[in-house]
Amino acid sequence: MLKTLIDAFALISTWEVIIAMFAASVYGLVIGSLPGLSATMATALLVPVTFYLSPIAAIATIVAASSMAIFSGDIPGALLRIPGTPASAAYADEAYAMTRKGQAELALGAGVWFSAVGGIAGVLSLMILAPPLAEIALSFSTFEYFWLALLGLMCATLVARSSPVKAIAGMFLGLLVSCIGIENPGGVPRFTFGITDLFGGIEPIPALVGVFAVAQVMRAMLTPEPPPLPRRKFGSIMAGQWRLTKKYHWQMTRGNIVGIIIGVLPGAGADMAAWVSYAMSKRFSKEKEKFGTGHVEGLVEAGASNNASIASGWVPSLLFGIPGDTIAAIAIGVLYMKGLNPGPTLFTEKASSMYAIYLMFIIANILMIPLGIAMIRVAAYILLAPRSTVMPIIMLCCAVGSFAIGNNMFGVVTVAAFGVIGYVMEANGYPVAAMVLGIVMGTMVEQAFVTSLIKSDGSILPFFERPVAAILAAMAIGALLWPVMVWVWRKLKPMQTATATSR
């Protein structure tokens, strides 16, 4: 244990890791603070760069950039009422109301402080939850993996803030995309239409860059430019944060726990955590009437929640290769490329790398406090950059980055195609996160499914025979039937009330 910890320290105390982490932090802060550029997009655009780094440095950039971007989205939310990332959307109104009351420092300070606390709580959950779960997961057979993957896919559809049917459709689309290529049980070209470039299948990373970055540039083409940030002088940003921590320690803890749970659930990430926690804070608050008028309580809880979900999203990702959120989906792609294939054995064979990931999360969250304060002070200058200068550079990065993944122009075609797909899906209420999950998990789901079918030799019984498999199966089937049940219930309820009133 102590030796692994020392090894982990040795792994991260190289100049490459330190510089990568610092640069990625600044990058994450800047991208997160620009409205319309999300934390997921920041991470996706980082991937081509991670190719050229050592495994630990590559993970360091993702850890640092994603944590920083989630906090940094609070800045334009508080100052302009335009959330920088979707994760800050839940409380942008509240934070802006505080700014108008002259409490911008308190709102932004709460953003930094509770983000850092939440992030560290998330890492603790990763450290505590992952190793025992890995022990259990070691005894899993393909049947358990099949149900687990199905459960993960279903979770993503349940938590979507959209129609569950559309979410399931999006998930199927993603799985269909993963069918393309010759990497299937028979090794035959499947859905390649004779195009050689499709033989290798659709790479998840260009698809993600397309869905999250190109689609965003496409949306920017049709939406008006956000107003510039008024320049202002800030007082002390951290003043009063300790008092808030003591006053709202229960709300903070509740936010942390909710964030951790939502982070672990596949497909649900920081934005969902913030919405749920803000709503919860309002529901249980003693001063409900103050919400919406610039009250810090909801900010504390939601800020603690969205950052906690970032680290806990890595739990299912590292253990099973099932992404906890879209950022973790990208991280999984990087882990595979760097030879850190997700799975329970990672915690025994590459224990020092795992400890290095924990340490980097902790360092990133501590680093967030000074860098975040600096960022708040210079935000007015960064937000001066008009969209018409930022978006073209994002476009270039998409083109070059997707080319760099395979040194192949087909990557750029993939990015363009998935930009259109993502844009059309989003515009019509199909959650893209569900599709992303399908693309990332497709190969694994198929492998588990087909191997299980071969093993069971045509019988369906082995899918339910093992106790863990049976429990997971019950949960997955329940999740699948849930929308149907709700639909039936909603259909029945008006009838009952109608008969009740007619009597």
Partner: protein, 163 residues
Amino acid sequence: MRLPDSVTGSFLVVLGAAAAYGGYILPPVPGQPVGPNVFPLVIGTGLALCGLAIVFGIGHSFEEEEELIPLEDGQAAAPPPQGKLYGLRALLPPALLLFYVLAADRLGFIITAAIMVYITSTALGAKWKLALPLAALSPFAIHLIFGKLLRVPLPAGLLPTPW
């Protein structure tokens, strides 16, 4: 690009059916009952069923309307210019990416990238005073990071970079 649910649903039905059929006709692995055909068959069927459900409006009640933050006085944004072709602007970014694919090898990275940046920037409302220097400088910056530091083999084309 908001299409009626019946259109997107029908599209999914067709796509799902095509995927299921495409999976069905795949050659099986000899001596093995399950092969590469099973998964597309399952997915295609599922997709087609979802498409049907969407056509019939099942689950529509779950959809939340987009929460628009009401504008305040003095903050009111100008109404976006409307026109038949306005919506097509959204297709500009993917079109430019395809242009990059077709032109980069012949024109080289610097020239292609400069054209992309200039068009995107102008489309987003930049004046030429801003767009032109941006188009002239940013390809070199990107080339420096990706081509020089990260050793991505970017095409040189007509205009080789000085490094």
